[in-house]
Amino acid sequence: MTAADYVFWVFATATVVSGAVVVFARSLIYSAFALLFTFFGVAGLYVLLGADFLAATQLLIYVGGILVLLLFGVMLTHRIYDLKLRTEKTQLGPGLIVAAGIFIIFANAALITEWPTVGREPAPTTKEIGRLFLGEYLLAFEAASVLLLVALIGAAMIVRRKKDA
């Protein structure tokens, strides 16, 4: 095994173990904090695949933005300290079918995709991503930004203090 292999196993284990904690933890706050390590592990895997920009984005958006907001929400929740999460209803059949379907799709994607070989000199991806965003995928990019803007305005509208109330 080369050094990159060891690093891969470290990141993979961190991702899987912390992902399990997210799912199985009884306390909401533990799940949220375990997500930190999941995101970090995934970012590490991106780096190993040569996607440095994507890895940094993963950290910035998911850890710096989404996870913080999540924690913020969890802490504002009433009686978070003694809230124990319990599954009230278990639906084994449909759950298994959905899980199996997702597994098949992901496994197929993982096997079909030609991954960049590990240990290769990482090529700068930032320029290419920028060119694709503002060239080939301009429509999707602009549509996404308009969508986000609408979401932002909508959120501001909802939390606005009503004058007559």
């Binding site: 050094a3 440095d52 984005t57 910035l60 913020f72 802490m75």
Partner: protein, 399 residues
């Protein structure tokens, strides 16, 4: 990583035959050790400087008892903190309570990987350098929230939540402002960002593209100061309201870790600001004068000099300005910094699009430099007048 490797290979050619894990251990371990030593010793100096500076600003002497001029005071304090018992209150969440200072420290120390101390002196020249710094610094937010929650203390929780709100808000304008020099350099790598500014003081980005860069620099510095929770942005640990904020329950070495992280973050913000706007490791003299002293490269000296100057500015502001209220804080971030940052990015885009010969050069020569000089002169006049007024006032009061 490869830069250290090259450097080591030049000194010990036998390394090329070593097994890979030895290489990784050396190549990753040595810079880590060097950074860690610097960051371990740094806070000792910064804390002493802060206490002395605050003392002088408030017409006191600061620490004077331990050693000449109190020079050994912070060393004594460090030793005390190391030997003190770390107290765990009964109802804290022990796992998260222990994990929080570690995460904060990791978030504070990791950006040092990409800080360029010289053209060949950098742990890793990542393609996404600046972006990496911005991304990693979000780790410490999580640590602060974790500390606030795990302490099981309402003041700590408030501190954690306030810091989360503050850092998330100020991260957005900070990243927008990062884009301004990045657009000029056309690269996210910190080495390329420094290379654009080669050729002496007049080529530093701060002094070019007149209206854009000075504004961008000041705003980036302000946002950075907010990100490391320094006064006037220190509501997460406002001692008059929240005891000590998120680290209320921490003692001994864990408290020292929070302090170390805070001062390291100050250094990182200052170093990144100087790389982006003040030429990084370049000497201020044109023609590469004093870039090396004989065989000794001086890049690290210039970077530390500039970063420490900015740290001094941070301390100066801390002991000059009062703390902002929460609503004022949000107002500054969302209604002042962010719109101006958007405008700056768009205007910078126009500058970048100008043809190569005119790309800032003519503008810099005929417009930017005279205006910058006029602005500096104006500031100087204001300062002198303020000093005179101060002296007259002191005389009047004495009479």
């Amino acid at each position: 990583m490869d830069i250290t490797y090259d450097l080591l290979l030049r000194i010990f050619p036998a390394l090329a035959d070593a097994p890979s894990w030895v290489l990784v251990a050396i190549v990753a371990g040595l810079p880590a050790l060097a950074c860690f030593a610097f960051m371990g010793v740094g806070p000792v100096i910064y804390v002493y400087a802060e206490r002395k500076i605050s003392g002088f600003m408030q017409d006191r002497l600061g620490p004077m008892r331990v050693g000449k001029w109190g020079l050994l005071q912070t060393i004594a304090d460090t030793v005390k903190l190391l030997f003190k018992e770390a107290i765990f209150p009964r109802d804290v969440d022990r796992t998260l309570f222990l994990l929080a200072p570690i995460i904060v420290c990791v978030g504070a120390f990791l950006p040092l990987v990409v800080i360029p101390w010289g053209a060949r002196l950098q742990t890793a020249d990542l393609n996404v350098g600046v972006f990496f710094v911005a991304a990693i610094s979000s780790l410490s937010v999580i640590g602060l929230i974790m500390a606030g929650w795990a302490s099981n203390n309402k003041y700590a929780l408030f501190g954690g939540m306030r810091s989360a709100a503050q850092i998330v808000s100020y991260e957005i304008p900070a990243i927008m402002l990062l884009l301004v020099p990045v657009m000029i350099a056309g690269s996210l790598s910190l080495q390329d960002l420094v290379a654009v500014q080669a050729g002496g003081l007049q080529n530093w980005l701060l002094f070019r593209y007149f209206p854009i860069m000075p504004i961008a620099f000041v705003m980036f510095f302000v946002a950075g100061m907010a990100e490391c929770n320094r006064t006037p942005f220190d509501i997460p640990e406002a001692e008059s309201e929240l005891v000590a904020g998120f680290h209320t329950e921490y003692s001994g070495f864990f408290f020292a870790m929070f302090m170390m992280a805070e001062y390291t973050e100050m250094f990182v913000i200052s170093a990144v600001s100087s790389v982006l706007f003040l030429g990084g490791y370049l000497s201020p003299f044109p023609g590469g004068v004093l870039q090396t002293l004989g065989p000794l490269p001086l890049g690290w000296f210039w970077l530390i000099f500039k970063a420490w100057f900015l740290i001094f500015v941070m301390m100066w502001l801390r002991w000059t300005l009062p703390r902002l209220r929460v609503d004022q804080l949000m107002h500054v971030a969302w209604k002042v910094l962010l719109p101006v940052a958007f405008v700056l990015v768009v205007v910078t885009g126009f500058f970048v699009l100008l043809p190569e010969t005119a790309n800032g050069f003519l503008w810099d020569r005929w417009v930017a430099w005279p205006l910058t000089l006029a602005f500096v002169a104006f500031l100087f006049v204001v300062m002198v007048r303020a000093l005179r007024w101060n002296r007259r006032r002191a005389q009047e009061l004495a009479a």
